[in-house]
Subunit: 455 residues, 2 copies
């Protein structure tokens, strides 16, 4: 329980304006973008530094108070909902870029920085941080969820782009894990353990990110296919040809229809692939583009729009941006349940086919990062209508189980949070026991983001 | 202690020819390719399957007998030397390719398979497993050491190319960790914990590897520079230009001299870069090659040999192969101490400069995977001559400490083994304590490859 004594301790650390018990602030930190039931934290704190975080955690540890780290609340599985109340740590003041190490392709940041803002700064140095979950997530949130996005097919997920992190442990002590060296075989890979752990093992406060040089040339391409299978066959062939797409997105016909309607477009309402390629200059991309075009044509592509250069790429991708917003806007009064599974590439067609049968009759939209075998389904419905919503949740359950039966995963990029907890046993079997032991080892009192990962 | 009763139990599991206590077999398994003192195991066993391994480990666990897994003994830090004797598990019979999943870019293998043999098989499917430590290592050894090699600069280290592993734990139970999905945010990343743990946490018996399509086109280039700094500047510029070299090797003038002498070549005895690029076809690589050439010329490159296509690439790389053998052959009667550090790219020149001063007067050769900031030094000397050898070991010590002071790592790719144990505290600080706890959690009795990682 948080009483006046504890609030006073927190105010001593952070000053009066670093501690808030106001209703509206607590409400803002009670939910993410999912449908999961909001829970208000007792208090929201705003640290300035890793030392502040360490002191906050010491107070929490001494008093057995739950702590939940908070980025900007764009997650989709209830990951930062403080289900046991307690202290919510909002990292918005810890948004500094600490050092840009251009020649090392590295940047040191506090984890409250939003990756889109960071990339604006980095572009001046010809660099970028590749993972792109879409929403305006913080680096801390991305590390917590091992976020990825459309460019992961080429550049990897967040786990592939973190070199070193500073972690405040459950007792308030601080450790560094990882290395600034691009490769290392030194010691156990604890860094990988913290990435994707959603703040349940420790609280990441600073990170050294691995960057990539901004490509000198871009090309993009939108290809329309008569059937899903033609699109997925194209995915296989492009991926196995030695080409390295920087994006390989699938959009089903319903998604194209909602985009047309919401945004006044006139695109084909058929299975569509959006691809992007990066190269050292535009000239060098031309033969590559011709090669991809051939693969599309061989797979019965009925329409193909393409372009070379940053402007053309922006034009072709414009319709993909804000897809989630277009879908939400088209169904006023309804809330989304967003599914997120990933399967081996060879199972992608089967998975999409299964999903399309399951969602028949619902307001549902299928799209995803096809190059990684990742599929999202957004179902718009009314959680208040228990009968209908239960059906949506049952469908989600069946779709996840199907993905697992195809040797896939219950979450490609949204994390476990609350929504995927009960699938972990099915996905991980006996190794789940060791995940619990790892949790116990780092957080013996269970104060770090409780109620997540494990039921 | 291994007595007749235990040998009988092992023979019951593996048959008579699966258990050897012969002197020559034990001697063969007493050392790797390093100078570290050999220790003979009490017995060497040859399992056929993960179930065999599980049964062996149960016997060892019941009787508190140390177990050391063994690939082919090509490691360089004493990683598989059975310092406490006991059972050595040789995986040579577990060399089967279990399933080739072409459309998923995956292959399932038993860990005794040698990666070069595997790549021969995979080439028929247009695929390959990218990490390439050079020596004829097994996949199990590569997983143990998180091996990498010349192509890591583009395709990552072993840790980046393992999707799923089957692990026999210290009590003989078997768990699966990882996923066949190309991306996942489900649960803690235990898979990453086992990779690079040198068999100290569990014994990996099977693995699903992530493969890459064989490129349709190759180009390679050898560039000679007047000074080390020109070569390292070229490395930075190529890496930051949006190009993605598939290899970026540095060879110092002494290495070039020994290659010339040993193999009758007439190459420039000056700092040299060897580069390779992969593309979807040869035509598409031509503008890329011209671009790299420009960068080299801007950095005072005084000679440049280049070629497009697999044959030209083979010609250009021929001299790089067997460098280690050429060096050894040039110093009969002497043994190598092989150093392996990695630093952030911006510190590469400083590190090479420091090394060259330190090794002055020794028979020493500097080369490395420059694109990853990885540097090797081979010093040829006589371990029997304690005065001289102590000096070599002291220089190794200073070079590692220098790398750590430059925010590098004590081992880029050879692992910790025996040789790098005492650097872990300096490199990892307080997080070493958590590595010890992880070890204790997975191996409470300390029977798994004892004497490695921790002193």
């Amino acid at each position: 329980m948080i009483d006046e004594k504890i609030l006073k301790e927190l105010r001593l650390i952070l000053g009066d304006d670093g501690v808030s018990t106001g209703q509206s602030v607590r409400e803002l930190h009670s939910h993410d973008e999912s449908f999961h039931t909001p829970v208000l934290p007792d208090v929201v704190v705003f640290p300035n530094s890793k030392d502040d975080v360490s002191r906050i955690v010491r107070v929490a540890n001494d008093n057995n108070i739950p702590i939940t780290p908070w980025g900007v609340g764009t997650s989709l599985e209830g990951n930062p909902i403080p289900v046991d109340k307690g202290i919510c740590i909002d990292f918005q003041k810890m948004n500094k870029v600490l050092a840009i190490r251009k020649e090392d392709f590295q940047v040191d940041v506090q984890v409250g920085v939003i990756y889109k803002d960071l990339n604006k700064i980095l572009s001046r140095y010809g660099l970028f941080f590749p993972p792109d979950p879409g929403a305006a997530a913080t680096i801390g949130g991305m590390i917590g969820n091992n976020a990825s996005g459309i460019r992961t097919v080429k550049y990897g997920a967040t786990k592939d782009c973190i070199m070193k992190i500073k972690v405040v442990l459950a007792d308030g002590s601080v450790i560094d894990v990882g290395s600034r060296a691009r490769k290392s075989s030194s010691g156990y890979n604890l860094c990988a353990l913290f990435i994707g752990s959603e703040g349940t093992l420790g609280i990441v406060t600073e990170a050294t990110l691995r960057l990539v040089g901004l490509p000198g040339g871009y090309t993009a391409l939108r290809a329309v296919f008569p059937d899903v299978i033609n699109a997925t066959d194209t995915v296989f062939q492009v991926m196995s040809s030695g080409l390295m797409p920087a994006a390989m997105e699938f959009l089903d016909s319903d998604v194209m229809a909602v985009l047309n309607k919401d945004r006044g477009l006139k695109l084909h309402e058929m299975p569509t692939l959006l691809m992007e390629f990066h190269g050292y200059n535009e000239e060098g991309l031309k033969p590559e583009l011709a090669f991809v075009e051939d693969i599309c044509r061989e797979n019965r592509c009925i329409f193909l729009d393409k372009g070379i250069g940053a402007t053309e790429r922006a034009r072709l991708w414009e319709m993909r941006h804000l897809t989630f917003e277009s879908i939400k806007r088209s169904h006023p009064g309804l809330l989304p349940l967003i599914m997120d599974v990933a399967v081996p590439l060879s199972r992608y067609s089967e998975m999409v086919g299964y999903i399309k049968k399951e969602i028949n009759g619902l307001k549902a939209y299928v799209f995803g990062h096809a190059g990684d075998g990742n599929i999202h389904v957004i179902v718009m419905d009314n959680p208040e209508d228990r009968v209908r919503w239960n059906r949506v949740e049952e469908i989600n359950e069946r779709i996840v189980l199907k993905a697992l039966s195809l040797e896939g995963t219950c979450t490609g990029e949204h994390g476990v949070g609350i929504g995927k907890r009960h699938f972990l046993k099915i996905e991980h079997g006996d190794s789940l026991e060791f995940m619990k032991r790892v949790k116990k080892m780092f957080d013996p009192k269970g104060i770090l983001n409780p109620g997540k990962f494990f039921s």
